[in-house]
């Protein structure tokens, strides 16, 4: 059984801390600042559907998840983030002519991340920053969940059971009218239960444009942004009992139109990740789309 859906969900979790500050990418990180001593709460609802199955099993995978992210500005340059996901995963397939469904819901692995602004240029009306980041995902979720058929496969487990590391760097430019972000990131997964999920490498791009108001008024008006993001994600093959799983891993390119309404204290946002290219290995299940919507609070 392939595991790309598990990896895609993990990516959503790992990037849920993304863009907690300002108008920023929905699907990955930003280098824009969090003020010293400032707290930011982000809640993201993610719905993922994968039904394009090249095998005769007619597999359908659906995941509904809620990502809770708490960010804190330790200093002007160093911010920390904690992410706790909750997911309801459902896998249906055709077995011997009959439909069978296995599912599991629960809290997943908690992730902790630190980001440091290593370079910045602030000028009137715009800013440019580069920030490396490092994070670890702790095995806090249940990785031994089972149903009437026995132990669930890794893709349905709420937790991975492994310590996983993610590092990378993000560069962001933002002016009053528009902004862009670019990120390079790598995630290395640990082994648990004789299973190691494939390492993930990704290159992300985002462009946001202020759609409203057309002309800036006095004070701090609310902004409506429209954006487009691209995520090129390569997932290495999983290792099962020390051997590569030929039906796992591959490369996917997502395009994501986004919309964000940004006020002084809160942000509403939504986007849909559409896989425009999926070069997956073997009988790996293809993703249909990932819908993300949520809000952020500044306190």
């Amino acid at each position: 059984m392939n595991v790309p859906p598990r990896n895609i969900l993990a990516l959503a979790v790992l990037c849920a801390w993304a863009g907690t500050a300002n108008a920023a990418p929905l699907t990955f990180n930003t280098a824009l600042p969090i003020s010293k001593d400032e707290w930011i709460l982000r809640e993201q609802f993610v719905y993922m559907k994968s039904t394009d199955d090249p095998s005769p099993m007619n597999r359908r995978m659906e995941v509904s998840g809620l990502m809770s992210v708490l960010g804190y500005g330790v200093t002007r340059d160093f911010a920390v983030f904690a992410v706790l996901p909750y997911a309801d995963k459902r896998l249906s397939m055709n077995v011997g002519g009959a439909d069978a469904t296995r599912s599991q819901a629960g809290f997943g692995d908690a992730m902790f991340m630190g980001r440091y602004t290593a370079y910045e240029v602030n000028a009137t009306g715009h800013t440019f920053r580069i920030a490396p980041f490092l994070g670890v995902k702790a095995p806090t979720g249940d990785d031994h969940a089972s149903d009437r058929l026995g132990r669930l496969p890794p893709m349905l487990q709420p937790g991975s059971g492994s310590w996983d590391w993610q590092g990378g760097a993000v560069a962001s430019f933002q002016s009053l009218d528009w902004g862009w972000d670019v990120q390079l990131a790598h995630q290395r997964n640990g082994e648990a239960n004789s299973f190691r999920a494939g390492a993930v490498s990704r290159l992300d791009l985002s462009v946001q444009r202020r759609l409203w108001p057309g002309t800036l008024g006095e004070g701090v008006p609310s902004f409506l942004y429209g954006g487009l993001e691209a995520n090129l994600i390569h997932v290495a093959k999983d290792r099962v009992d020390g051997a590569d799983d030929p039906n796992s891993g591959g490369t996917t390119l997502f395009l994501t139109p986004t919309v964000q309404y940004v006020t002084r204290k809160w942000v509403l946002e939504a986007g849909i990740q559409i896989p425009v290219s999926q070069q997956l290995n073997g009988s790996a299940l293809r993703n249909d789309y990932i819908l993300t919507t949520g809000f952020r609070l500044n306190f």
Binding site: A21, N22, A23, L32, P33, I34, S35, K36, D37, E38, G73, T75, R76, T117, E120, N122, A123, T124, G125, H126, T127, Q174, S175, L176, G179, L216, G217, E218, G219, V220, P221, S222, F223, V262, T263, R264, K265, V267, R296, N298
Partner: protein, 104 residues
């Protein structure tokens, strides 16, 4: 004739307080802010400046690319502190202008 009680004196004083404040001057500090580009980050800046106890109100302007700090009547501006608080919020402070206005 009945002598005024402490209660009456306190009430009279409370009624006079707004009159005493009227006409008092207070300082207003305008500081240019570099790197401030969206509403969400402007709030972080205003909140940070509110940490200074003498600040009555801090209002950012995205169009003007500055922040206006209104002090409490009689308070003295601490420009170094305000610049540090702007820096802590992730931005770069620029030119500073100090003026006075009548407290309302």
């Amino acid at each position: 004739m009945q002598r005024p009680s402490l209660k009456h004196l306190a009430a009279a004083l409370a009624l006079c307080l707004p009159l005493l404040a009227f006409g008092a001057e207070r300082q207003v500090v305008d500081i240019a802010v570099k790197g401030m580009t969206c509403p969400f980050c402007a709030y972080g800046l205003e909140k940070n400046l509110g940490k200074a106890s003498e600040v009555e109100q801090a209002s950012a302007s995205l169009k003007g690319q500055n922040v206006r700090i209104v002090l409490k009547p009689g308070a003295q501006a601490d420009l170094g502190r305000y610049k540090q608080l702007i820096h802590d919020a992730g931005f770069t402070p620029g030119e500073v202008t100090v003026s006075k206005e009548e407290a309302k």
